[in-house]
Each structure stands twice: as structure tokens, then as C-alpha cells.
Symmetry: C2
Subunit: 245 residues, 2 copies
DNA sequence: CGTTGCGTTGAATAAGGTCAAATAGAGTGG
DNA sequence: CCACTCTATTTGACCTTATTCAACGCAACG
């Protein structure tokens, strides 16, 4: 079931995995010069397909590599001893997964594909080696981890201080921004996750998500039909956030 | 008001700031060999006193250095546009503050001393330089950031799935564990933060914290009197967490 | 065409928030 | 050392929000 296939990149691509990747402005190569990116081509030499519903790695698995989403969509989940679990993140093309494993050499979260996906495998030992040589890569990698920390703090903020409507508005705006950055429409997209997964991520129950979607629709803020969402009033959504109470 | 004093370490200490520090097993030097730690002595050459209520840095300040708590106690807070703020962490001796600033060269959180404190200043440019030379330091630093990410995910879990009692139990157990690791009693300590700060961190109101403390006391789990806490039944607190519902 | 998973909606309930009042300490200045 | 002030804390009463439980609709799929 979880037997995602590993495929080496073909010969002609071998030298240009990152250099020619359209995601290079969003992914690990972000901010590096073309010459530096070429160095990455030796680092990232394998891709892996992961089918919808399959996991890339699971909590407890030994950590060996980071993974950049190339195509598709993933979720990360943490599991508590008593069985309760929570979605801690959604990952789109260009985003790096697996940073949680560096600290203990084992993954602490499970990562599951929400649609058929492909990832670039970044062997961690090689990344450390190369970032030791290429100064700007070291710096870039540190920034990436730092931004992950800041992102998580943003989610803590959301979970700690916001009401249901605010949380969902923040979630939609965040998706919108990320789709936009990838050249997709920032106002019309398909959700890859269920109401339950959204709820888990936002610390709410699926019924609350459903009700809040309906409410937003009544207010003319969005149009939802199943997984399809169109944002009709971006400013209105933003206003929901800015306001107190 | 925020004019915390910077004092270079005296000559005799200069060569042994980290090597002779009792916190070296908990702090940046963790896992490094004595020879490697000596290298750190050239990195950490300034300490800074921060009085209770003063901030070490504020959100928006340019990022220049990481700070290790040497003595005292800090909180980190994030502020939302509308003025709402949230405590995102408490920091004890040996813990590193400031990782949030690496990604954007500016701090995203404010850090405030909850009692008269002292920090070791770790200039970031030097840390990058040195971790470029000392391989194990690079590795150690990455692990430290990764653990911070995992910690934050734990808080997300807490905020997203736990009820008030569970949150406070988890909070007390976490403090207990950290005090214990520092050689203090894991069952008896003084809280440095107010009920409001605890509530902010746990996504609850101060009244809820107060009530839950009282409830724990009635159940014989703890004894609280103002800021003083004694854990009477460690297992009982743990049981609160393991159980569902 | 029934099954199955996902989503919507309503009604009742519980958890935590809000508001308010009383108390207790800690710190300050005389 | 004492009176005073200010802040933190506790507790009660009531209210709001989101959860729980339950029923039903819809769409995809074998």
C-alpha cells in the first residue's frame, strides 16, 4: 500500500534537475545564483511518485532525506498516544517536507499524499555536505528552517486567539496566496483536503467547517460547491481577520 | 526602559565562556566535544543583562544575533495587526532565542524577561562562519532548529486537540521536565509568569487557568499558592493527558 | 442501483468566555 | 514600619461559541 516508487531521474535530466525546474524560485534553490543552483543538480538526483493516500514517510521512520514537493499535494499529521491526531500542515509544489526529522534522526510526523504526487528526494547527508561547501546554500537552508518556525508560530496564533470564522478566513487567504505564488488563480481552486482535514488543521470539527463555509457563501464572500472554492470578496475575507471580535 | 546593558565577558573568562558553563549540556554546545566547545568560546564573547520587564528584542527589530538564556526566564510574544497578542513560548537557562529572525533578517516575535536575567549573545554571522568550519556545530545547529520546529508542532497539537485541563496538565509537566533537566526540583517550583501569560500561551483565558488550578488542587494533583506550585501527583497529571475525553 | 464516503443541516449540550465583585499580595512612599 | 496603591488572582453568575448527536442528501463507483 505504501510502496511508493523511487525512480532515478533520466540521464538527460540528471545534470539539470533543479536548474531547469520551474519551481526553483519557490523551492530550495530560492535566492541562489544559476551557478550555485547547478551544484544542487548533483544533490537532487532522485524523484519519487506517491499515489493519493500513500504516505511518503511515517512518524517513527528513520530520517534520511528531505523531500521537495514537485507536483501534487500533501498533508502532515501528528499522532498523540491516545490515538487523537492532528493535521499540522499542507504542502504544495516547491515546499520542503521532512525538517522535523533532523533533530532526532527520526520523523515525528507522517506525510500523506492528498493526490497523486511526485517529490524530489534530497539526501540529508549530502545536503549538509554541500551546504558546508556552498556558503549561500547553508544560509538559504537556515532561512528556510527559520521561516518554517515562523510559519508554525503563525498557526499557533491562529489556534490560540482566533474564532472559527477567522481561522477559516485565514486558511482560505493562505491557500489563495500560495496558489497565486505558483501561477494558479488565487481566487478559484479545488481543495485537496476534506472538511475533516481542514477542521483538524484549524482545531475545529468538520461540522463547524461546513457551517462556516455555508455562512461565508450566504455573506457573498465565497462560492463553494464540494471541493471547489471561488473567492468572491477577497477584501471581505481580509476584513474578517483585521477586525477584533 | 529597554536599555539593557551589554557587558563584555572579563579577560579571564574570555577563553572559557562555553567550556566552563554549567549549561553546556543543554545549550548550543550540546553534543560537541570539549575541543569543539573551545571553538565556541571565540564565538560567544558578550553577555547582556536584561531586567525584569525589559525586552531583549522586539518584533521588527533587525536580526543580528541569537541569544542563549544564561540565567533568568523569558517569554516570547507575537502581535497581530489588530492588537491581539499571544505568548508563543517561555525560555529557561540553556535555551536559544531568536531563531525566528534568521528567515527575514528581522525578528517576528518580541522577547521579554520575566525576571532579572542574563543572556549570552551569539552573533549570527560568526555562528554561520564557525558552523561552516566546524562540521559538528553545523549539524548541531540544524538539529536545534529542527527540534524547535517539532516543539512548535507539539504546541499546535495542544492548541488544536486538547481541552483546558489537558492543556494545563501538559504545561505543568513540560515545566516540570525542564526544571528537572536543569537540576531543580521537578515537583516544586515558582511560576515566573502570570495566569494571563499562561492562558495566552495555552489559548485560554486567565480565569480558566485560575479555575483549572483550583480544580487540580481539589483533586489533590497539585498545591498552588500564588506563583508557587508543588506537584503532588505526577502520575495523575500524566493520566489526564493519556486519556481520551 | 445499492453501497460508501463526504458533506450539510438542525437541535441539544457542554466547555470555556465574559462580566463583575471581592480578596490577596507586592511594592512604594511617608 | 505602616498605610496606600496597584496588580494579580479567585470565584460566582450568566452567555456565547463550538461540539455532539443525529438525520439526510449527494456524488462516485463497483
Amino acid at each position: 500500500m505504501d510502496c511508493a516508487k523511487t525512480t532515478p531521474v533520466s540521464i538527460q535530466q540528471l545534470k539539470k534537475v533543479c536548474s531547469t525546474c520551474s519551481l526553483r524560485e519557490l523551492c530550495l534553490p530560492m535566492g541562489l545564483s544559476p551557478e550555485e543552483i547547478e551544484q544542487l543538480d548533483h544533490l537532487v538526483y532522485t524523484r519519487k511518485r506517491v499515489k493519493r493516500g500513500e504516505s511518503l514517510y511515517r512518524a517513527g521512520d528513520p530520517f534520511t532525506s528531505l523531500n521537495a514537493v514537485r507536483t501534487g499535494f500533501f498533508k502532515s499529521t501528528v499522532v498523540l498516544e491516545d490515538g487523537r491526531d492532528q493535521v499540522t500542515g499542507f504542502h504544495m509544489p516547491g515546499e520542503i517536507m521532512g525538517l522535523d526529522g533532523i533533530g532526532t534522526d527520526r520523523h515525528t510526523v507522517s506525510t500523506i499524499a492528498l493526490e497523486d504526487s511526485e517529490v524530489c528526494i534530497i539526501p540529508y547527508s549530502r545536503l549538509e555536505e554541500l551546504s558546508h561547501k556552498v556558503r549561500s546554500l547553508q544560509s538559504q537552508f537556515h532561512k528556510m528552517m527559520s521561516r518554517e518556525i515562523v510559519r508554525d508560530q503563525g498557526v499557533m496564533m491562529l489556534l490560540g486567539t482566533m474564532r472559527a470564522e477567522e481561522r477559516l478566513a485565514a486558511f482560505l487567504l493562505n491557500l489563495s496566496q500560495r496558489f497565486g505564488a505558483r501561477g494558479y488563480s488565487p481566487t478559484e481552486f479545488n481543495l485537496r483536503m476534506t472538511r475533516e482535514e481542514i477542521g483538524s488543521y484549524l482545531g475545529l470539527k468538520l461540522e463547524t467547517i461546513s457551517r462556516t463555509f455555508s455562512k461565508f457563501q450566504e455573506q457573498g464572500l465565497i462560492t463553494v460547491r464540494q471541493k471547489h472554492v471561488r473567492i468572491e470578496d477577497l477584501k471581505g475575507l481580509r476584513r474578517l481577520l483585521g477586525r477584533e471580535c
